[in-house]
Each structure stands twice: as C-alpha cells, then as structure tokens.
C-alpha cells in the first residue's frame, strides 16, 4: 500500500482523510436508502415471518448506516452530525447507487434487488475488514456477520421463486429483467473509489468479481434460471444523478426534520 497519491491523480484530489469522507458517506447512504425501502414492507410482508425478516434486515442496515454516518461526520470535522448528514441533504447530494433506491415492486423485485446488493455487500465487507483504515475495517468486521445472514436469506428466496411455481418463476424473471442492469454500478469505481483503492483503503472491486459471479451462477443454477447476458450498466447514483424515485423516498424519510428543524427525541 502506498501512502502517496498516484501521479495521475495528484492535484485532482485532496489528501486521504477528506477523500475518505465522500466514500464513507456513499456507504452510509447506500445502507440507509435500502434500509428505508425494506422498512416500507413492515406490516405488508407476504407472511409474518418474512415481514419480520425484512424488518430485521432493514434494522441491521440502518445500524450499519449509523456507524458510517458517525464516522463520516468525524472525517468531515465541520460540526455536522449523523442526523444532519441523513436528514438535511438533498437527492443530488446522496451518493447511493441506483439499485438500492428502486421501488420495492412485488416480493420478487425486493428479493432480486436484495440478492444483487447482498452479494456485493458481503464480498465488499469481507475485503473491507482488511482495510488500512482501522475504523472502516471495524465497521466492516461488525456488519459482515449480519450481511452473511442477509445473503443466505436472499439467495434462498431467489431459488424458491425460480424453482417454485409458474407464477413465482414468472415474477422472478420479470424482476431480473428489470433490475439486473443496476448491478454493474456497484462494482464500477468512481474517481474517488479508484483513488482510495490505490491507497489500499478500499478493496479492488475487480478482485471481488470472481467470487460474486460464482455465487450468482450457483444460486441461479439452483433456481433453474439462466444467468442473464451482460447488460448495459445503468449508473449515476454514486455521482448524485438519481432516478426520480429517490426524491419521493427522501421526502418521506426527511419529513420530520424538514418540517420541524432541530427536532430531537
């Protein structure tokens, strides 16, 4: 690991602590937005056990998001708190990839979105826990145990739906067709991520791909679903270019702080 910036990037980007801020924020936004989406299922799950599963996964992700937001606030050092970062930024300031803001759709859509995210998340955390940044490594170590349960849950559901009834299969196929295009953004590094990767602070995404692809092949194989052909990756969220869905989501998520600024429990 090198402590200096690569020549090509020198002058374009600031030093590492500030560079880490947008990345940690991106991780925080990603977990928060997905947690919010999953929490929309609360009380609407197909059966009680799965309603609880979705709420549990949402809670894990929310806890992970808090750890990242607290760390981001510390890195920024401008006096903003975790709440300021979550509640008082607009959609264009959010850095989550497009996948996690996609609407829940039916249960199959939620499962496929979760599967694509969990497969990346689990493998990312596994590598991130070796990060040269001690705090990122600690958060990753903590969250990895939870992410393993999530990936098992979503993988098993992909298999159940794919190898289930004609109806469940048809819904799974539709969800895959709608969501697969959002997977590529997860492992396509932004300029910030590229810098951090070269500094050894963020894992090389290309190195995660073989294990991710192997898991997809295994699960889709069990589900009797062909692995989709490579599709054009729909991107932009990590740079603040979001789909129309995020604005509505934030309007709900941020409603209390926007209506009653400074409100505390």
């Amino acid at each position: 690991m090198s402590a200096t910036l690569p020549e090509t990037l020198a002058g374009i980007v600031p030093a590492a602590p500030n560079l880490l801020f947008p990345f940690v924020l991106q991780l925080a936004d990603t977990s928060l937005i997905l947690a919010h989406r999953l929490s929309e299922w609360c009380g609407h799950g197909p059966v009680l056990e799965q309603d609880l599963a979705l709420a549990n996964i949402a809670l894990d992700l929310l806890g992970e998001a808090r750890s990242y937001y607290q760390y981001a606030a510390e890195l920024e050092g401008q006096g903003r708190t975790e709440d300021d970062l979550a509640y008082l930024r607009s959609a264009v300031e959010y850095r989550n990839p497009l996948l996690v803001e996609q609407p829940n759709g039916d249960f199959a859509h939620t499962v496929v979105r979760q599967f694509l995210f969990d497969n990346f998340h689990y493998h990312l955390l596994q590598a991130l826990k070796e990060s040269a940044d001690a705090q990122l490594a600690a958060i990753a170590e903590k969250s990895l145990k939870e992410a393993a349960y999530h990936l098992k849950w979503s993988s098993e559901w992909v298999i159940r739906l794919g190898d289930g009834t004609a109806e469940s299969r048809q819904r799974l196929d539709k969800a895959i067709a709608a969501l697969w295009r959002f997977a590529g953004e997860l492992t396509t590094p932004t300029t910030t991520e590229t810098c951090l990767q070269r500094l050894g602070l963020v894992p090389d995404y290309a190195a995660l791909l073989p294990a991710m692809e192997a898991h997809v092949a295994h699960v889709l194989g069990e589900a009797t679903v062909p692995v989709p052909e490579a599709v054009f990756a729909q991107q932009g969220g990590k740079m603040g270019r979001h789909s129309e869905h995020l604005g509505y989501l934030l309007a709900e998520l941020q409603y209390m702080q926007r209506s009653y600024p400074g409100l505390t429990w």
Binding site: A53, A55, L62, G63, E64
Partner: protein, 165 residues
C-alpha cells in the same frame, strides 16, 4: 472516594438487557472493559447487532446505575472491534436464558458457509420440554439476536438466541 474496578463490575451486574431482562449485560458479554482513574470511570461496551435499539437504553441504564452510587465522572465508549460474539455469553447467562424460555446459542453454528443454502437447521433443544425434535421457522425472529423455532413434540413456538460468531 474513588471506587474500585471490582465495585464497578458489581454494579454493572445489576444492569439488565432491556429485551431479555433475565440477562445482565455481563451475562451478554457486551461490557468489554472498565477503567477507574481517580474518580473518573470509563466503561467500554460493544453492540450485539449494529441496529440493536437496546444499545442506547443499555448505555443510559449504566449511566443511571452508576449515578445512583454518586459516580458522576463517567464515560461510556462504544467499541466495534473485535465484534461481539455469542461465545462471550456466560454459562450462567445461557442457563438463565433457557429457564426464561429462550433456547441459548449453540456454539459453532453461525452462518459461515454461504453455499450451505437450505442446509440443515441447527439442532436446538426446546426450552419447554427439552426435546431435540425442533425445526427452524425463520432465521429472523422477534429481535435481531433471535431466530424463530417450533418444537415438534410439545408444539411450542420458541425463540432461539442465535449463534453469532
């Protein structure tokens, strides 16, 4: 007069988990360190699960218990690494859990291997009739730390405190 560390540990034994009140926070293994320097007390705790809402309550309860002893110079640290594991749950804690109707964690059964999809459920003993004939209903239970099981003999549904390591 400065308290001893031993005294602080005794006081912490009296703080219980708000969601499983038969367990003290020491049974749970979430208190990682206690330090006393002059009259300053420093307690380090670690969360069980990232989003566990009990953690804020536990920090408040620790503060209140120590305040009641006149210990006002108190700092509570939250430590993420090493991450909490059910291996840290005390033997007494496991017995109290089972007596309370929650099956204690079966060590060494954490979700380690991803490709073990639809693998065999962990054999968990029913806390009511002690039968080993039970089945997993859902990996996700009433709180983050529990899975939902049912006994095939006495038919009682019960919580299982999942192994997390």
């Amino acid at each position: 007069m400065a308290p001893t560390e031993e005294r602080i540990w005794q006081l912490l034994e009296e703080v219980s988990d708000p969601e499983v009140p038969v367990l003290s926070i020491l049974d749970l293994g979430i208190v990682r360190a206690v330090r006393v320097a002059d009259d300053a007390v420093d307690v380090t705790i670690t969360p069980t699960y990232s989003g566990c809402p009990a953690m804020n309550v536990i920090a408040t309860e620790i503060r209140l218990r120590l305040l009641a002893e006149g210990l006002t110079n108190l700092t509570i640290h939250n430590q993420l690494s090493p991450a909490w594991t059910t291996d840290w749950m005390s033997r007494a804690g496991r017995e109290k859990l089972e007596a309370y109707g929650i099956a204690p964690p079966v060590d060494g059964t954490a979700t380690g291997h991803l490709l073990n999809l639809f693998g065999e459920d962990t054999a968990v003993r029913c806390p009511v009739c002690k039968s080993e004939h039970t089945h997993l209903v859902s990996q996700f239970g009433s709180t983050a730390c529990k899975a939902h099981y049912q006994c095939d003999d006495c038919l009682e549904p019960f919580d299982y405190f999942k192994c997390h390591s």
